[in-house]
Structure formats: structure tokens, C-alpha cells
Symmetry: C2
Subunit: 303 residues, 2 copies
């Protein structure tokens, strides 16, 4: 099943020719969850062949321009493309001012509903749930109220062992019961335990997005063991003072968090425009947490 991260932009506020501002698409079984929406996000989706109509929910970390200024155009484009289904936008309450302004000033007559769901940035909460996943907010510390997001697949059912089903002649009608935990009793009364008929469920995958934030060591308990962590690494550690002043994180700090949280893989992004070659960021992070990669526009990661 698809659980795939698409990087639309991994730059920071000051634009460069190398990066777009922050935006990502998490593709969970064909449902697109957008995370942040910097200017140019819709163009990058088109370049990557990602359909804007597949976005049901947009999660905004905070109300800085480099995380939201793609929304004005995207909302209009969805209308031009004929959208009729609701679009849900989740964010700190400040983001609601932008949505209200856009709907009032530009989009009074669009053919679909934009539903804004504010969340409290002071504590973690379940902010979305469907049959496949849960999304929890992750309180971060930045210059505005900010949250990251933790996407977790729900535990799946065990897999049926086809050869056992055939061997015992178990009818198709019983397969869902067996997946749900039932055993099977043969005609001669022998009980075949559930465990012999199935293999364990695929371990649930998880993805955490943490940007923008100063380094928060205590996040290690929140993102512990996630399959993939995207964390901002705006600066090299030699600019720790600047990172502290602007409430951003260094590459070394992001890698320290990834190591302490024992995540599967770390992807770093939100690169400062002052960084001319991100290899130095990668080297710094990999020295602490080897399984680190650099974000880049167009990157597609299987979680």
C-alpha cells in the first residue's frame, strides 16, 4: 500500500533558484495529504504529475508566508478544475484569517466548501482520523504558534496464508473472520489456530513532520521510532546562535533528535538561503545519524 512522501519545496523564507518554500504531499493509498503550502506548490505538483484534486486535507504548521502563500492560488485552481468535494484545512487559528480573507475577497462563488479546522498549538491532539491513518499535532516552538504532524498508519490485519486456506478447504466467506482472529475447525473437529492460518500484519508505518522549530530534545519521546522523520535543518551548527535567535534547528541538532528518538530515517530540509551547498548539512547530520538524506524538490520517498 502506498505511503509515500513527495517533496514540493524544502527552502526557507528567502527564495532561491534552488528551492521552493515548504510544501509536501503525503500520499496514503491514493489520498493526498498536503503539509504546508508555500508559493509555487501547485506548479511543483504539476511538474511532478500529482493531481491537485486528490488533496482532501491540508495541514498547515504555522502562519508564516513561506508555509501558506501557495493557498490563494491553489484554492482557485481547484475551483477552475471543477472541484465540488469539501477541502479541509487544518492549522493554528491565525491561518483562519487568511482563509476567511480569501473566501470573502476572491472566492465568494466557488463551487466547493473550504472547511477550516483550527487546532490548539499548546498540546498534542488527534486532529484527523480515517480508516487508514491518524494524524496528531506536535507542538513546536517557533516565532508564531506552530505544530508539526505525526501521521500513523492504523495497525493492519494479519495476512492470510493462501496455502493453508487451500490445504484445509476454508471457504472464502470465512477469510475475514480468520483475519480478525478466528481459528478454523475442520470437519473432523481439529482446531487450526489462527496463528497457523496467517502471517503477522505489516508493521504500521509512520511519518513525522517537524518544521519550523528550535531544537526540542523532548520531541524524542513524541516521534520515537517513526519510520521517517522530516525535520528542519535550517543552518549548520556553526550558526547555532542564529538558529537560536530565529527559533530554527541546526543539522547536528536534527540528527541528534533522530538518533535519540531511534527513527528509521531522517530527511532534513527548510534550508537557509545562505547555504550554497547542502552537502555540508548532510555531512554534519550523517556524522550523528547516518541514515539521513537531504530533501530536494521532486524527491519521492517510500515511507
Amino acid at each position: 500500500m502506498n505511503f509515500e512522501l513527495n517533496i514540493l519545496g524544502c527552502g526557507s523564507a528567502k527564495p532561491t533558484t534552488r528551492h521552493n518554500p515548504s510544501s509536501q504531499i503525503l500520499n496514503v493509498r491514493g489520498k493526498f495529504f498536503m503539509i504546508d503550502c508555500g508559493e509555487g506548490a501547485q506548479s511543483q505538483m504539476q511538474r511532478m504529475g500529482l493531481s491537485m484534486m486528490s488533496i482532501g486535507h491540508i495541514f498547515i504548521s504555522h502562519n508564516h508566508g513561506d508555509h501558506v502563500f501557495g493557498l490563494p492560488g491553489l484554492i482557485g485552481t481547484m475551483d477552475l478544475l471543477g472541484r465540488t468535494s469539501e477541502l479541509h484545512i487544518h492549522g493554528p487559528q491565525q491561518v483562519g484569517e487568511l482563509i476567511d480573507f480569501l473566501l470573502h475577497t476572491y472566492y465568494g462563488d466557488i463551487q466547493y466548501d473550504v472547511c477550516f479546522h483550527p487546532f490548539d498549538t499548546s498540546s498534542s491532539a488527534l486532529i484527523f482520523e480515517d480508516r487508514s491513518i491518524t494524524v496528531h499535532s506536535i507542538p513546536l516552538r517557533h516565532r508564531l504558534p506552530t505544530c508539526g504532524f505525526l501521521f500513523r498508519e492504523k495497525p493492519g490485519l494479519p495476512h492470510i496464508r493462501r496455502e493453508m486456506i487451500d490445504a484445509f478447504g476454508i471457504p472464502v466467506s470465512q477469510i475475514n473472520n480468520i483475519k480478525a482472529g478466528a481459528s478454523w475447525t475442520t470437519e473432523d473437529g481439529t482446531v487450526i489456530p489462527h496463528e497457523r492460518l496467517t502471517t503477522p500484519a505489516t508493521p504500521p508505518r509512520s511519518f513525522a513532520y517537524c518544521s519550523d522549530t528550535v531544537y526540542l530534545p523532548e520531541l524524542k519521546d513524541v516521534v520515537r521510532g517513526v519510520t521517517l522523520l522530516y525535520h528542519e535543518a535550517t543552518y549548520l551548527h556553526e550558526r547555532l546562535l542564529r538558529a537560536g535567535q530565529t527559533l530554527h534547528t541546526t543539522a547536528l541538532q536534527a540528527a541528534t533528535l533522530a538518533r535519540d528518538a531511534e527513527v528509521g530515517r531522517l530527511c532534513i530540509g527548510h534550508f537557509s538561503a545562505s547555504i550554497k551547498d547542502e552537502q555540508a548539512l548532510l555531512d554534519e547530520a550523517q556524522a550523528v545519524f547516518p541514515n539521513t538524506i537531504l530533501a530536494r524538490e521532486g524527491l519521492v520517498l517510500q515511507v
Copy 2:
């Protein structure tokens, strides 16, 4: 002297991978005048090596998203780049709502002033003037109050004929007087008329921007004889009905206006996303007005 048009975007509202939404930079002797500011304008400036800090004035034709949604990011970027000089934005009064919202919600503490100058879209007026140029609004007809813009160089002074200055031993201190129309009297009392000492001034150049609008034949008197006319040509003439419904122009109509106004050159743009190959638009226009070219992102035209 520079009088140069830079095309940043020439698509229409529905985005494509081929075009950005509307935006241009008219470079008049190193001063940048931006015309419309669709999403991604600042990125395209960077790709073309154009400095955002050289923009003193932005002229907005109308308050549709594909002409203004680059402003939110651009205003912030100028602050990040350290701008302190005033930025002047001219547009129909509706654009003022966007500026007010941005300054109130995102840019309360930027280090420069954004000055909004609303203009009346019902009649032509002089909306800007400096030592080199004048800018007049051109009322257009679209779904919102809309104006195009007519940029005209002011008439220059005649050029000094260096060889005549040398021949008559005219001192440097007299050159400005002669440029301004004076004759020269030699020591023996011979009067050398101004016309023998100079060659005529370079004819003033002019540029007209007309987008978005339905075809307005009467514009031929407004843009008569301009050096370069940029006119929208959203559709092929086979979609005349659609053009009329949406208050846009066909390529044939744009070329008819250019021919009737006897302009020097026509550049067509604002292409519908439904047009897969703009050559058909060019063919249609050139059949009526041969000196037509297609706009494209990155195009630089000497006016």
C-alpha cells in the same frame, strides 16, 4: 538607453507546466516597473537574474488571483533582502484590500513602506510620471474593474554633432544650451543655426499592456503607433463565443487591433490552459498583423 520588456509569466488563471500567471518587468534605464504579479513572479525574476530591489513601482491591472497572488511573497522577500525604500503599488481600489490584509496580518513590522495608489478604472489618467516616462491607465473591459497601462518615454533632447562642436571650437559649457535649442555665434558674428549643430532626438518609445479584456476596437486610438503592444490573446478565434463570455480576446482580434492602431510590434500572451500549441495563435495573428510574436517566460524584448 534601456527600454526593455521582460516576460515573467504569460499564462492565464488555470496553471500549466508551460506558463506562469501574468507578470512582466519593464526596465526603463535600470528602473524596474512591474506589471501584474502572478504567483511565482519572484522566482521567475531570480531565474532571469532580475533584482527584486530594483522595483520601485508595481502596476496591477485588476484584482484576479492570477494577476496578484505573487504580491504576498514578493512584499516579504523585499523585507528579507533589507529594503528600506518605499514600494508603490498602483491598482484598482479592490487591490487595496489585499495590500491592507497583508500589511495587517503578515507585515506589521517590515522595514519599508508600501504605498498603495488606487486609480479610477472608468477613464484614462496619468498615474505615474518621472523624468523619463509617463504612465497612463487604459480602461479595459473585463469581469472586474480593469485597466491596462501605456508607458511613454518623454521626448529627448537632440544629439550634439561632435564634429561641428570641434569645427567651431564651441566650449563644453555651451553644449546644454545648444541641446536645449540655442544657436551658436562665431567670433566673426556668423550664426550657426541649432539644426546644423545637432541631429534630431531619438524618437520616444512606448509600450502598451492590455490584459485582461474583451476586444475593444476603440483602443486603436489609445495605443496608436506604440512601439510595442502586449495584448492578451487567450483564445483562438474559433472560440470567439467563449472569449466573449469570459471577457477575453482572440488572437485574430488582438492582431486586428494592432493593425488598426498601426503599432510597431505586437506580443500576444495570457494563453488559455486549453491551448496546447501556441503556434496556432501566432499563425492566426500573423495572418492579420505579420509583426506579431508569442510571449514566453524568460523572453526579453527591446522596445
